[in-house]
């Protein structure tokens, strides 16, 4: 057996250029497969970590998934708002422990502006029921105060006390600026890995204030209310985009959901975050599965390449196999020699792939976090990824049997005198 292994190794080493390329192609396919798998699980994880302790998410009537996407993940826009009076009715409902209003629509240099109340910093929970915490400063207190997320502070280099100008609309259009009413950074939140990091939080009154002299998305011509007079107006919010609700007892959640969904004054939708997420996964999983299937195909292509290469070389190796037979190697030994050679390449490829993935992780994690908001913890493979890797290696093992079997047949037929 030792003789066999060192023979197989010497033989593989002799053709290291070709086999090395095969190992690299298998490694790349493994990177793709495991990368897709990792992206999938990390995205899921990161999404499920985004909200915890919230019993119901409420918004205007739309699809539950869409509501989750804009209210929790800040993806996409709300089509309708809900009335402030509806929010108040919910907040005052005896079953409700706390309610966080969320008003979306403005942005600051590409980062979302969230109008909300102090309840946000008090009751919002994520991950393992962790509350939000300030790295420096404090929540907004004044109308023109803003509490910013860690990513906003880092990317734009803001510190507590800096003045910032908000844009109207979710996209930076340059023109529609609320330049007359600058905000002061009151605090910077600790990093969470959530959309919170990429948000600017202001009071609901502030959202009203900057829109006082606006109508239909544009400044009213001839009307400009200076910041110092703003306080004299009625800044009570009239509409919000969504609300997060925590109940006194989880047992009442379906009753509360019914109350909201059948609310008389306007059509509302409330969803249980867990249920909505499950629904989201069932939609996403089709795409996930196709991606995984494609990656698996790429792995299969890599493996067939290996078989082709080993098989092609076999013709030139018939003399060598005859020599081995003359020194006592049976057809079974010849079989194992070729199988081991293939297996070594597959193993090297798999190992290289895992290493490649780890390296890729180090480079890709910040990019993914910045662009997709997926917090990517570089490090160990998930259990599913290990399973995939095991599957790859098993397939590789089975695939290696093909050239082994071919060599077995050849050496049986050739004996000591291959007829070339």
């Amino acid at each position: 057996m030792k003789a066999l292994l060192s023979l197989a190794f010497a033989s593989a080493w002799n053709r290291r250029a070709t086999l090395g390329l095969m190992a690299v192609s298998i490694a790349l396919s493994v990177v793709l497969l495991l990368g897709v798998e990792q992206l999938r699980t990390q995205a899921r994880e990161s999404f499920s970590q985004s909200i915890s302790g919230t019993d119901l998410v409420v918004g205007a009537r739309t699809s539950p998934i869409q509501l989750m996407l804009y209210a929790v993940f800040r993806l996409g826009d709300a089509t309708h708002n809900i009335r402030w009076s509806s929010f108040q009715a919910m907040a005052e409902h005896p079953a409700v422990a706390w309610a966080i209003p969320i008003s979306l629509g403005d942005s600051h240099r590409g980062f979302a502006v969230i109008g909300t109340t102090a309840a946000y910093f008090e009751h919002f929970r994520y991950g393992d029921r962790r509350p939000l915490a300030f790295a420096t400063g404090k929540p907004f207190a004044d109308i023109f105060d803003a509490a910013i997320g860690a990513e906003v502070a880092e990317r734009l280099g803001y510190r507590v006390g800096d003045r910032i100008v908000l844009n109207h609309g979710a996209k930076d259009l340059g023109l529609a600026e609320h330049a007359d009413k600058p905000f002061k950074v009151s605090g910077i939140l600790q990093r969470t890995g959530l959309p919170v990091d990429r948000s600017v939080h202001v009071s609901l009154e502030a959202v009203e204030a900057i829109h006082l002299d606006w109508q239909g998305g544009a400044p009213m011509p001839g009307l400009s209310i200076p910041a110092e007079y703003v306080r004299k107006f009625d800044l009570a919010p009239k509409e919000i985009t969504a609300a997060l609700i925590g109940l006194k007892s989880r047992a009442g959640v379906f009753q509360m959901q019914r109350f909201i969904n059948q609310y008389k004054d306007e059509p509302l939708l409330s969803v249980l975050p867990g249920v909505a997420l499950d629904e989201l996964w069932s939609v996403v999983s089709i795409a996930e599965k196709s991606l995984l299937a494609i990656s698996a195909l790429v792995v299969a292509v890599g493996m067939s390449g290996l078989v082709a290469v080993v098989l092609a070389a076999l013709g030139e190796r018939r003399r060598e196999l005859a020599i081995l037979r003359s020194v006592g190697a049976g057809p079974r030994v010849v079989f194992m020699l070729l199988a081991i050679e293939g297996l070594m390449v597959v193993m090297a490829g798999a190992l290289l792939g895992v290493l490649g993935l780890i390296v890729l992780n180090l480079f890709a994690a910040p990019i993914l976090e910045a662009h997709l908001g997926i917090s990517f913890t570089p490090g160990m493979l998930s259990a599913d990824a290990w399973q995939l890797l095991l599957l790859v290696m098993t397939t590789g093992f089975l695939v290696s049997l093909v050239p082994g079997y071919r060599a077995y047949r050849l050496s049986l037929a050739d004996g000591l005198t291959p007829r070339l």
Binding site: L7, W13, R325, S326, V327, G328, A329, P331
Partner: protein, 247 residues
């Protein structure tokens, strides 16, 4: 009579074959039939025959790579027809050294590793190689010694075996056949790819080694001129009727 002695464990014959028939598979497969073929222990037999007359086939039968139809066949007093295929593989490496016409070496192994191949697969060959080299010597040393006896400079060891000349390659192959003192050396046209001068030179070296170690040699060639170097010449085409031991 010879026939009775052949069954005892130490008959004077290294090879004792009667009424052997072998047919390659297929309707028109080549059929080799040998009424009798006897080789004494220590004999140097020159086996000649036209190309395609079945010389290599006979050698594969002697090495237990091919199995004849049931018959009387003893190689070194072993009835190969009674052994399993893996026992025949073991027998082959334990007792027989093979030498082929060309491309005799495993290209990715060093000169020394090529020589040591039989020792990697056979404990018997390993032990005998170690014994002959002296108590303190290693396998590698015994390989080197053999290579030196065959006129191969160890400075050649540094280059890949594929860079050696054909004559040098054949000597490495001869060292591989000889290492660990197999009782039988089977050489299938080992000189055919050498030019005339080298042929005789190689033959002299090989025969010299065989004399020193007192092994039985079956040497195949279609070149009749080489026959004069051997104690006996057997023509496969006329094997029928060749009296045992008649030289």
């Amino acid at each position: 009579m010879v026939a009775e002695v052949a069954h005892s464990s130490t008959s004077p014959f290294a090879i004792d074959i009667r009424n052997l028939v072998f047919q390659w598979p297929g309707e028109h497969g080549f059929r080799l039939s040998i009424p009798q073929f006897l080789v004494r222990r220590g004999e140097r037999v020159f086996l000649q025959g036209a190309s395609g007359s079945g010389k290599s086939t006979l050698l594969s039968l002697l090495g237990g790579v091919l199995l004849p139809q049931p018959c009387h066949m003893r190689v070194l007093d072993t009835d190969l027809t009674m052994l399993t295929s893996s026992a025949r593989d073991r027998f082959r490496v334990d007792h027989i050294g093979f030498l082929f016409q060309q491309f005799n070496l495993v290209p990715y192994l060093s000169m020394r590793e090529n020589v040591l191949l039989p020792c990697r697969f056979s404990k018997r060959r390993r032990q005998r190689a170690l014994q002959s080299a002296g108590s303190a010597a290693s396998l590698e040393q015994s390989a080197d010694r053999l290579l030196a006896q065959l006129g191969l400079d160890m400075t050649l060891a540094r280059q890949p075996v594929t860079a050696l000349s054909v004559g040098q390659q054949q000597r490495v192959a001869a060292a591989r056949a000889l290492i660990g003192h197999p009782e039988l050396i089977i050489a299938d046209e080992p000189t055919s790819s050498l030019d005339a001068g080298r042929q005789v030179e190689f033959l002299d070296i090989l025969l010299g080694r065989c004399d020193d170690e007192n092994v039985t040699l079956i040497f195949v060639s279609h070149d009749q001129r080489l026959g004069s170097h051997f104690s006996r010449t057997v023509d496969l085409d006329k094997l029928y009727g060749v009296a045992p031991g008649s030289a």
